[in-house]
Symmetry: C2
Subunit: 325 residues, 2 copies
């Protein structure tokens, strides 16, 4: 999603009950942020409160559709909160590994409090996600969330295993994107459907595809920039040894690129030059097109749903695309 405003538009399209549920999700996240006693969760609290666009919790609610009684509603709110907590945990750990100074315009936990506290804060957010679902006592929900959190970690391991490998197969790259991003979007949609007895597999597949497209387009942005929009220099992934779709497509179009040694990149200037060579092959347009195809597949394969619910989900899909238009 491009902006908080775009998320607001989706919430409006989805109907007043979604706005109300999002408010309950925020309320519960604030409670958790304040919980655990003053000092204890200072950093976890700040992380939760700092927010973000809450795209994943929104997907939980949209996948559930119309409101469905207080028990289902409580389950939905718990699921939405749990998904956001897992997402926050993964961001906190990512920031530790990247030694990132800021996120969402605030200092990261690692910048504010050091690696030890930041690692423990991520672990705490992670644990709290499962505690939140455990309170509901729904085994299917715990199963969906643990599958996604395992996938997130496996995605990171695959990314490390494939680092610096310019010849990484396309399929392996796509698998990594599903693990890193698709799996939590899938869990969000699955959890929403489970709470109301909806079509969990079909909505899960929608979420997985939307997440995959989200990651593909994110990887395009790393090469295309501009930095003024992404908030980071072009080619950051390349400098880090992470081979993504633009380079995978470009190496087929320009054989010289297939011989690139990413370890030889000495600085951001050289990384930008490589981005320019990748862009010159037309690979960025093809990568974007492939991402749009995935989004189109996602919406085409949506199961039969009430009109309003379908429109809201399509708006989310369009928002993922629009971010990169």
């Amino acid at each position: 999603m491009a902006t908080a405003a775009a998320v607001d538009a989706v919430v409006r399209a989805a109907g007043p009950h979604v706005a109300e549920l999002m408010a309950r999700v925020e309320q519960r996240l604030r409670e958790l942020a304040a919980g655990h006693g003053a000092v204890l969760a200072e950093h976890a609290g700040a992380t939760i409160a700092a927010g973000g666009k809450r795209l994943r919790p929104l997907l939980v609610l949209l996948a559930a559709g119309a409101p469905a009684g207080e028990a289902a509603t409580r389950r939905l709110v718990r699921s939405a909160v749990a998904v956001e907590l897992i997402h926050s945990a993964s961001l906190v750990h990512d920031d530790v590994l990247d030694a990132a100074p800021t996120r969402r315009g605030r200092p990261t936990v690692v910048a504010a409090a050091g690696r030890r506290i930041a690692t423990a804060t991520g672990d705490l957010l992670f644990s709290r996600a499962f505690a939140e679902l455990a309170a509901g006592g729904e085994p299917d929900d715990v199963r969906a969330l643990s599958a996604a959190s395992s996938a997130l970690a496996r995605g990171e391991l695959v990314q490390r295993a494939d680092a610096w490998n310019v010849a990484v197969p396309l399929e392996r790259y796509l698998e990594r994107c599903v693990l890193k991003t698709g799996s939590l979007f899938e869990a969000a949609c699955r959890l929403g459907a489970l709470a109301v007895g909806g079509p969990a597999d079909a909505l899960g597949a929608f979420g997985r595809r939307i997440g995959l497209a989200f990651q593909l387009l994110d990887d395009v942005l790393d090469v295309s920039g501009p930095a003024s929009r992404t908030g980071k220099a072009r080619g950051t992934d390349l400098l880090d040894g992470t081979v993504t779709l633009p380079l995978i497509l470009a190496r087929q179009r320009d054989p010289a690129l297939a011989a690139t040694d990413l370890r030889a990149l000495r600085d951001p200037v050289e990384a930008e030059a490589l981005c320019d060579r990748i862009a010159a092959t037309g690979a960025l347009e093809e990568a974007r097109r492939r991402a749009l195809d995935v989004v189109a597949e996602a919406t085409a394969a949506l199961p039969a749903l009430p009109d309003r619910q379908r429109r809201a989900l399509e708006l989310v899909a369009a928002g993922v695309v629009e971010r990169y238009a």
Copy 2:
């Protein structure tokens, strides 16, 4: 427990069904180690396979007592595996933060593969623990495990918040020990009891106390050494700013110690000298006595149990003490 041999003695005392269940736990841990596809969980697999004394899984089985049908047995094995996975995850993350070169005589994950892979490996082990319990579909089990894993992370946060504070209150220190160590021992005993409909609260309280005593005695060892036995220099905690029971008791006996500035410790030699000053106050004997009192309380408060089960639990309690005799 002093050694793998002591654990074997407990297993023998507990009866052949415990040996059989431990074999099933090991089998399942090996399956998980081999799972996730070749490269993916290479490091998680190595961590699981490397083993340890499996004290926590053993507690799960002992708290359950006599065998009780295949469904309860499967639940027990899952719980024992999940507890060991959480323990392994926390060790892997600890090693990242301590940049530890070896554990259990092998290179740590962080030493072998770097911080990024080690952090993700810890996250994966963590997620797998919940996936293992989710497969069983028992909400109470997930609740017990998520409470313990939250506590582990909070324990680390408390430890960081109190770092370098020589005046930390005794109660706060004890709370930290329960969070860091008691909570997972408690969960182990609780999970064992839950699987067979046993007295979960009473056995959980036993586990919490045994875990607390385990941590108290561990903290004594850091000051008492000898390094030849602990495998690390005396005063490692002090150099790290971690104030534990020996110093807390010693500062009351020797007011000069209350004015210690741990940040002024320049090297292991100065840390050893501080250990000697702490030992000279008699604080180590008092700390040991307090730990033994906690163990005595734990066994005294055991609920009515079959003789064989009670004896096995008492042997574990004795083993925790013996390690430091």
